[in-house]
């Protein structure tokens, strides 16, 4: 097509079409390419933002090396890396059943934090007065109950009155944060807002401080994988998530499934809170979860709600996090810099999903049979 009454008129420069499917290898190729591009852009940004690098461009090798150094250079760092993955993964796993049901639980942060608070409250009041094993069990029960409560309230409102779960769960985060602040004021009358590390209520460590936590989360990952794929309840979650009308048509009690699933989701967030409270910190602050309730959402999405794939995505995010902090240490830059780096790379990773779902045709190219890739 060349001429019209407007003179020169041509077909559009680019147009998009949705792919029917894409071979998995190609999809992974696109993702890896996206990460590579993200890293290159990070390097360019670093030249501008990091003074030391600007003056010594030859240190760019160190810059990229930091991503490996951050997680793998010492065995302490490596264990910390695994522990961080475990906690993040635990929260992501907790969110997974809800997300598979298309129940947008943005409240993982609050549900986990309230779990920490529950465990620490038991620890604070009963620590030293009951045997340690009983204390740990009571803390466990309290953490799970608190997490469940935080998740099930929005679920009941959603099931009974159709309220928006996204807003509701989000708001519950703030309630949890301020509740923690409230209890800290009661527990620490001196006015310093820090509770300090409690003496009792610490999960036993064998071999390594983190090993037990890692094993618990590993078992949970496998268990949840089986739950969502091979059980009747997992199947019901999928059906409700895909189509509420289909669920009604075959006689699934949709409200029951919503509430039951959120009980599971909240209890698992409570478990993550327990691992943080009893397994690591023996204390609680408003920042105990540190935003992992939100990062967990991303881990779950990127892993397509598949618990096994989420091990990889949680790992990716941890490598980035620890690498970025390593960079700020090595190059002496402010604490905000790691967030910039992680943000840039995640932008590329998430953006690559677009190229996995859509094909781009440029003007003049009509080789549809092969569908040439347009990744940029």
């Amino acid at each position: 097509m060349r001429k019209t009454r407007h003179g020169e008129a041509r077909e559009p420069l680019v147009h998009l079409s949705k792919r029917a499917s894409i071979p998995p290898l190609k999809a992974w190729g696109i993702r890896l390419l996206a990460i590579a591009l993200g890293l290159i852009v990070c390097g360019l940004v670093a030249f501008v933002l990091i003074e030391k690098l600007g003056q010594h461009p030859e240190r760019i090798g160190d810059f990229y090396n930091a991503f490996i150094k951050g997680s793998f250079s010492t065995s302490r760092k490596f264990w910390k890396f695994l522990k961080n993955i475990a906690i993040l993964l635990c929260i992501s796993l907790a969110l997974t059943p809800a997300f598979r049901m298309r129940f947008w639980n943005i409240g993982g942060e609050g549900q986990t934090l309230i779990g920490v608070l529950g465990a620490i409250a038991v620890d604070f009041y009963l620590g030293g007065q009951v045997p340690e094993w009983l204390l740990l069990i009571l803390m466990f029960v309290a953490a799970l109950a608190a997490g469940t409560l935080w998740a099930v309230i929005p679920a009941i409102f959603k099931a009974k009155w159709g309220t928006n779960e996204t807003l509701f769960t989000l708001m519950m985060n703030y309630v949890a944060t301020f509740l923690v602040g409230y209890f800290l004021v009661i527990w620490v009358p001196s006015g310093s807002s820090s509770l300090g590390k409690l003496k009792y209520g610490k999960l036993p460590s064998f071999g390594n401080d983190y090993l037990l936590i890692i094993l618990i989360v590993l078992a949970l990952t496998i268990g949840l994988y089986i739950y969502v794929n091979y059980t009747k309840q997992g199947y019901e979650i999928n059906v409700v998530g895909e189509s509420v009308r289909t669920a009604r048509y075959i006689g699934i009690n949709v409200n029951k499934v919503i509430i039951r699933t959120m009980v599971i989701s909240g209890a698992l967030c409570g478990l993550a809170g327990y691992l943080i409270g009893a397994g690591l910190d023996q204390t609680v602050t408003a920042d105990s979860v540190g935003g992992q309730g939100f990062t967990g959402i991303m881990v779950a999405w990127l892993g397509k709600f598949n618990p096994l794939a989420m091990i990889l995505t949680a790992g990716l995010i941890q490598v980035l996090n620890q690498g970025a902090s390593q960079i700020s240490q090595d190059f002496d830059v402010s604490g905000a810099f790691p967030d910039v780096i992680v943000g840039i790379i995640l932008f590329f990773v998430i953006g690559s999903e677009f190229f996995i779902n859509y094909k781009i045709h440029f003007r003049g190219h009509h080789d549809h049979a092969t569908g040439k890739e347009a990744v940029k």
Binding site: T4, E11, G251
Partner: protein
């Protein structure tokens, strides 16, 4: 007969992923003619027209208007070339009046004056013999009036090439006749009209020429007066098929499902089903006819246990022990647990009957997933069942693990119907089971319903094609506005009689049993 060319399509090709929707299509449209574009569903009719209307952009080929090559990138471009399309699904703002919808989105010099618009619309209406009050709100209009608004919208923008996508699908026989007379007047005015359809009788009735598409390819364009239904069918489906649907006499029919005085209100308090009573017999197909949206869907869904009726009874006569079971106020699960084998093929296949993102096995399992041991799923039996459905109903699929949304419409429906009949239902309800299906798949479905009937099931079939209802069913229940306007013997009734019942209002309602 020397006529002026309006549009020429040259080698138009469009692909969606690996699907070749249009394969080098050449087509000519003249001024002052009605051209029917005929083809089965999925043959590429709508795609082709969408490229003329600027919805899609062709991958290859040229579009010529008045002999000059043009590029149509958007509906706005299309309007500049005086091309307008009336889509199958109306795109109207409910809260606006007809006239407001007609001018919506137009950029015009001067002040916006709704009175002028009303007058202009009235002029167009009068000229072509439409029936429409331009000041009425869309939500007050009937389906046929909404269609009128869409057509006037296009005319108001000065289109002299009109494309109508399946315009008769939502109309009663009487309304169709009226639409056709309007189309003839437009044609006399020198306009080109392209009508997309898969109904042969309408093609023969209204068009001057017929272009036949099959699997994205242009098979032929013929003069309507020189062709026949049989010839068109052959070109459309590629091989000769028997248009007759078999109908056996019901064997030993006994009441299987009795509905008495059923009333249903929807969540807005609207009276959707009004005092509906009928009996479905075993070994018989009971057709349900009515204009789209007359309560057919709600009727079936109420029987299936998805709605709680305000009053009335739904009595199932159990053939095993002769006992009567009231299904009213029972959930779908409770109905199953009572041992009632009720098959239901809903209208919305992927939104209700199946889960689009799940594979065939998991979809077959929807009815039986509770059978696994403990909390775990048993996929072995459903997989065998799925294999059987694929084999028996000739579902074309790459494999059992393909998500059903990737299958074509006919194959999706085969999976759904296959699942519903695999439990050998005592009552089988189907809502528009052949909508969107090609002729071969449609006949597969008709045959399946027939074999269920011969096996003694009470089949309830909600259909839209009256020819099919008359040929397939034993009795036909006609409803309008949620009320029964007649129950007729399908062997001794004409299409016109059923059409009249479909539009009969409550006040003239009377029962005509058997």
């Amino acid at each position: 007969m020397e006529k002026e060319l309006a549009i020429q399509l040259r080698g138009i090709t469009k692909r969606f992923g690996t699907v070749l929707a249009n394969d080098h299509v050449n087509l000519d449209v003249y001024r002052g003619e009605i051209l029917a574009v005929l083809g089965e569903n999925g043959s590429g009719k709508t795609t082709l027209m969408n490229m003329i209307a600027g919805i899609y952009y062709p991958d290859e080929g040229q579009i010529l208007i008045d002999g000059k090559e043009v590029v149509i990138r958007s509906p706005k471009d299309a309007f500049e070339h005086k091309i307008g399309m009336v889509h199958q699904h109306f795109k109207l703002v409910d809260l606006f009046t007809a006239a407001e919808n007609i001018v919506l989105g137009m950029e015009k010099e001067g002040r916006y004056n709704i009175r002028e618009v009303n007058a202009e619309v009235a002029k167009i209406t009068e000229h072509y013999g439409f029936h429409l009050d331009p000041t009425k709100k869309i939500y007050d209009l009937s389906v046929s009036e909404k269609q009128t608004v869409e057509i006037i919208k296009v005319l108001y923008r000065g289109a002299d090439i009109l494309i109508l996508d399946e315009p008769t699908a939502v109309l009663t026989p009487q309304e169709i006749t009226r639409l056709f007379s309007v189309l003839h007047r437009m044609k006399d005015d020198g306009k080109s009209i392209i009508i997309i359809t898969h109904k042969l009788n309408e093609v023969l009735e209204v068009s001057d020429r017929v272009a036949i598409l099959r699997r994205g390819q242009h098979i032929a364009t013929v003069e309507t007066k020189d062709t026949s239904e049989a010839e068109l069918t052959e070109m459309m489906v590629g091989k000769k098929i028997d248009l007759n649907i078999e109908r056996s006499e019901p064997v030993n029919p006994v009441p299987r499902l009795t509905v008495e005085g059923l009333n249903l209100y929807n969540s807005e308090g609207f009276h959707v089903l009004k005092d509906i009573s009928f009996t479905a017999n075993s070994g018989e197909i009971l057709g349900v006819a009515g204009i789209a949206g007359s309560g057919q869907r709600q009727l079936l869904e109420t029987i299936a246990g998805l709605y709680d009726p305000a009053s009335g009874n739904i009595i199932f006569h159990n053939p095993q022990d002769g006992k009567e079971i009231d299904l009213k106020d029972k959930t779908p699960l409770e109905i199953r647990q009572l041992g009632v084998r009720l098959g239901f093929v809903p209208e919305d296949r992927l939104g209700m009957g199946l889960v689009g993102n799940m594979d065939i096995t998991d979809n077959v399992m929807l009815r039986s997933y509770r059978n696994g041991i403990f909390g775990f799923l048993d996929r072995k039996r459903p997989r065998k069942q799925a294999e059987e459905i694929v084999r028996k109903l000739e579902v074309s699929t790459p494999g059992l693990s393909t998500p059903v949304r990737r299958l074509s419409g006919g194959n999706v429906q085969k999976v759904l119907v296959g699942r519903e009949i695999s439990s050998s239902p005592e009552v089988l309800m189907t809502a528009y089971p052949v909508r969107g299906l090609d002729i071969n798949s449609s006949y597969t479905i008709y045959n399946l319903m027939n074999s269920q009937k011969q096996d003694g099931a009470a089949v309830i079939f909600v259909g839209e094609d009256l020819d099919v209802l008359l040929a397939l069913c034993d009795r036909i229940l006609v409803i309008n506005g949620g009320a029964v306007t007649g129950i007729v013997d399908a062997r001794n009734v004409t299409k016109e009689e059923v059409g009249l019942l479909m539009t009969k209002t409550d006040t003239e309602r009377k029962e005509e049993v058997k």
